[in-house]
Symmetry: C2
DNA sequence: CTGAAAGCGCTTACAG
DNA sequence: CTGAAAGCGCTTACAG
């Protein structure tokens, strides 16, 4: 068990003061080139690294940021995390990961812990339960504590924080219009997240794009059995010609239901999914999907946070960044 | 921007010394009940929380552990992380996440950073490139530095560390035997990880289970086009009756290839995948899969690390924990 | 150019 | 039972 060498030990070996060693290593102009070289050489020899905890204590920074993820099994969030990590690495920051499992209680605990000074800033996608119960006190608490907060993905809340996400309404309106333009009349939407902000917006986009008096077909439930029933009704009874899905689970549900009822995709049913390319390309048939570039969202969120960290007091107004999405055409919408 | 209250300020408000406040809050028996109560009351009122950085500096611990993940988009690792996070939370530890992207260079950087004292321990699934190049110096370096290391999932290396994984040989031998028992003769295996330890073991298990002189059918490549070709040969030319897959990508490849060549699953081809339940149940048809309980692996890895952290010097021998796997029968293996 | 001193926020042996 | 002091490993204004 090798022990890490400290400034003090280095100073003793060099017969100079701790201050001198510290300054030399930090390239202070106060120090003579000669001394600086001696110090650096020995430091290198012993593979000296400043103890980050001590540095943090001095600077009252932690050099880490906290990321709150609602559900890491969702590959979207996993990929967002990947983008965050890459950007944090570039900025020399450590990423502490917290998983809320979509639970308000857990999210509160996490925020509580974050106010104690573990992190310099927080990236969060607000948990489903939190949105449903509209309880945001713990988030305000973070902000009041002076901890910069950036909302990602789930951003339509009235909280004074920077945010990054996609144009949910626009994206879904656009996709709906594309189907209409191809002459498809009966278009349905499937969702398991209709009670969440993003879900509502996506449904809104769908509705806005449909012509007046056109019937809406909506299969919405977070409960698997209910979603299944509603999807079956939409596909088998209502016989929609196309379905747009707002999330992973509803996308897969539509696929399964079509399969079970021997409805041919894309001949009898076009499907546009909201899933990642790592699934979309492999499904049978492959599925056209809306790409929301998760890694970019993560990197962007991190950049917003960095901007805050670097001049927190200068700019009080909150910024919002909306990322472009892209519809990728695969087999499930072929004509 | 509320400023956090410190021990010093608390002491001043109470007209006692900093030591007294500290002891009172830490339930030292030295302090009178009366004083302790006064202190605690005020601390509560001001929502006092000890600065973790200062505590860490005193204790020479960081209260955080590092998790190195090769590829977070792989839902297996995402779920492992979920298990780690849950267990860490229980133990009051913070989890810093690092993503190696299967790269040796990045893994080295991470290990380098970890030796500076950011974390008390490390959980790692060794990157693919690292395994291929057999360069483990950076891992030895961690161990030499006295940082407890736990290997998870990818565990067949000669590194003095605790480890947790599955019985790859046994699992694949068992699955192969099950197919044989149903009277299936031509069994193939598809893999994109044949150059990795776990991949080799899984293929070994498959080979061991087949009777003498039985032909092996192996579609192995990490390159998508090559894998596709080999899979096509296996399904179309060799006409195997069943395929066992060692990983997510090969599983999806087999599905796609069967679909493209109109090979009916399960009538003409049985498939056993190595993917998570979140995909398996939704595919069309649903796919029988080997469940390796990722969350349990994560929690188990964390527990091994906790054990190390709590008595690092007492027990020098390394422990290994092998988790049970389970074959879940769904539509792709129906007779 | 170098070093002594103060201080970041805590804990804990030691003295009283 | 309470408090002064030392110290964890650094940085940095200040003195020389």
């Amino acid at each position: 068990m090798k022990n890490k060498i400290t400034l003090k030990e280095l100073a003793k070996l060099l017969n100079v003061s701790i201050s001198t060693v510290s300054k030399a290593l930090n390239d202070s102009p106060e120090i003579s080139t000669k001394t600086a070289e001696r110090v650096k050489e020995l430091a290198k020899l012993h593979n000296y690294r400043p103890n980050p905890v001590a540095v943090n204590l001095k600077s009252s920074k932690s050099g880490t940021i906290g990321v709150i993820i609602p559900n890491i099994s969702n590959s979207f969030f996993a990929r967002v995390l990947s983008g965050i990590e890459a950007e944090a690495q570039r900025a020399g920051l450590q990423v502490i990961t917290y998983i809320s499992n979509e639970k308000l209680e857990r999210e509160k605990q996490i925020c509580d812990m974050l106010t104690t000074g573990y992190v310099d800033g927080v990236l969060i996608a607000v948990a489903e339960e939190t949105q449903r119960k509209k309880e945001f006190d713990h988030l305000y608490q973070l902000v009041d504590y002076g901890i910069p907060v950036v909302l990602y993905d789930r951003i339509n809340f009235d909280i004074p924080a920077d945010r990054i996400g996609i144009d949910d309404v626009g994206t879904f309106a656009d996709v709906t219009r594309r189907l209409l333009a191809k002459g498809i009349k009966k278009i349905g939407i499937a969702t398991t997240i209709h009670h969440m902000g993003v879900g509502k917006l996506r449904i809104d986009g769908y509705k806005q794009a449909l012509p007046e008096n056109r019937t809406f077909y909506i299969a919405n439930s977070a409960r698997p059995e209910v979603l299944k029933e509603k999807t079956e009704k939409m596909l088998v009874v209502d016989k929609v010609e196309a379905v747009i899905c707002t999330d992973y689970v509803s996308t897969m549900r539509v696929y399964r239901t079509a399969y079970e009822h021997e409805i041919n995709i894309p001949k009898d049913l076009k499907v546009i999914g909201f899933i990642g390319k790592e699934f979309a390309n492999f499904l049978t048939p492959s599925i056209s999907y809306i790409d929301q570039f998760p890694e970019e969202m993560g990197a962007g969120a991190m950049q917003l946070l960095e901007a805050r960290l670097n001049n927190y007091n200068k700019d009080k107004s909150n910024s919002e960044r909306i990322l472009k999405t892209s519809l990728v055409d695969l087999e499930s919408t072929r004509f």
